[in-house]
């Protein structure tokens, strides 16, 4: 009786499969890139509207990256520069002559940039770094998951080591004279420390009986709609190619 109840509780707490998994997110990303890259200029508005709608629906937070002032200025200047210098001036906005062809080309370039940025942002925010490693491992780069795991953990340690080496050299007046030599010493000391740390990691991994040839690729997150999204992506891409 008790066992049954425990089992029932366990089943209630069982995690539900997410709607979109790694493959689904990858399909959406690849489909967005495919559509926007191969769309001709006259259809870019429809293509980008479709891609932006899908990205906004799935990753609403990705719009934040595009709404940054620096990027908006960059996109604005892209349109302006094209309008001013590409093609013959045929319209006038205020006192300044613009080329409608240039403006059109600038808007197309800006739209492409926005779609790509949002697609990358949406993909990187929804997929874990280990899932990317898992995907690449399945493409033939075996052991990549292990290496990326080490790389992520090494980031802070390497930063600390570089700061320590730099400070040690600086405190001993290393950069006062012979700066090139000091830089070389900095690099060698830093690399030697990093490789020694690598040796420790190798020993630790081998002590835990890690062997790349016996390791399975990192698992990918599965979603219930992955198959449908993949099929839909193919159909949309195919339809776009047919229309174009």
């Amino acid at each position: 009786m008790i066992r049954e109840r425990v089992f029932q509780n366990f089943r209630v707490r069982e995690k539900r499969e997410p709607l979109i998994g790694t493959l689904g997110h990858l399909s959406i990303f690849a489909c967005s890139l495919g559509i926007i890259i191969f769309s001709p200029g006259e259809r870019i508005a429809i293509s980008s509207a479709l891609c932006l709608l899908v990205t906004l629906w799935l990753h609403p937070a990705s719009i934040r990256r595009v709404l940054r002032m620096r990027l908006l200025l960059l996109l604005g200047s892209l349109i302006l520069v094209n309008g001013l210098w590409v093609g013959a001036a045929d319209i006038q906005i205020g006192e300044i002559p613009f080329s409608s062809l240039g403006l059109q080309s600038g808007v197309q370039m800006a739209l492409r940039a926005v779609v790509i940025l949002m697609a990358v942002e949406g993909f990187s925010s929804s997929v874990d770094i280990s899932e990317i490693a898992g995907l690449l491992e399945r493409l033939g780069l075996s052991g990549l998951g292990f290496s990326i795991g080490i790389a992520v953990n090494l980031l802070s340690s390497l930063r600390e080591t570089s700061a320590n080496v730099w400070r040690s050299l600086y405190m001993r007046g290393g950069f006062r004279q012979q700066r090139w030599r000091a830089m070389q010493l900095f690099m060698v000391t830093f690399m030697a420390n990093a490789l020694r740390r690598g040796e420790e990691i190798t020993l630790a991994a081998e002590a835990r009986a890690y062997a790349p040839e016996r390791t399975r690729a990192l698992p990918l997150k599965k979603g219930c709609l992955d198959g449908w999204i993949l099929a839909g992506g193919f159909i949309v891409l195919f339809a776009f190619f047919l229309i174009l």
Partner: protein, 202 residues
């Protein structure tokens, strides 16, 4: 592409170093809008990757380092990442192809791989700009001529000299990266043998 545990760790170290350079220095150079920052970044990154190849002299090692650096860049906080990501991967691929022509990584192989890898940064806009942003190749060409003319203080009409100058500059900087990698590798080996740590696969 099968590596041992030790090789995977070594590749992870060099991949992280390239990734750190791309994340920190790349973002800084991008923010201050320094001319030829792509060439400079490629040279530093390739020097690290080539140094990694000295420690893991196996086919695919340079590409593996590039993939790690690219993945780290993808998850970094910055502005536009797709261009640098393609750049990292293609530079690593070019270096890998050149190094694959040699049995072992020699000084000449490193110089060639560095030169051609850095030269790719000059060619890359002709591939990525039309594909990703729909920019015409002619505009990319004009942009490069303009930058070259400013850099060498030449008339933009002297396009042959600008192109030759830019290519020579890229090749020279790339060769410098290869040379730096070779020399640092030798120094490191001496240092590690002296300190009693056996260098990895040298």
């Amino acid at each position: 592409m099968k590596f041992t545990t030790r090789q995977l760790v070594t590749l992870a170290i060099f991949g992280t170093l390239w990734g750190v350079v791309e994340i920190s220095l790349g973002s800084l150079l991008h923010a201050i809008n320094l001319p030829m920052s792509g060439m400079f970044l490629a040279a530093v990154g390739l020097a690290i990757a080539l140094l990694g190849r000295l420690f893991v002299p196996r086919r695919g090692a340079t590409l593996f380092i590039g993939v790690i650096a690219m993945t780290l860049k993808l998850f970094s906080i910055g502005s536009v990442v797709i261009g640098p990501m393609i750049g990292i991967l293609s530079e690593a691929l070019v270096a890998e192809l050149v190094l694959s022509l040699f049995k072992r990584p020699t000084r000449l192989a490193l110089l060639l791989a560095g030169s051609l890898g850095v030269l790719w940064t000059l060619v890359q806009p002709f591939v990525t700009n039309p594909l990703l942003f729909g920019r015409s190749i002619f505009l990319v060409w004009l942009d490069i001529l303009d930058r070259g003319a400013q850099l060498f203080s030449l008339d933009p009409n002297a396009w042959i000299w600008i192109v030759v100058g830019l290519a020579a500059l890229h090749l020279l900087v790339g060769a410098g990266a290869g040379w730096l990698a070779w020399n640092t590798g030798r120094l490191l080996r001496v240092r590690m043998v002296a300190s009693g740590t056996v260098p990895l696969e040298t």
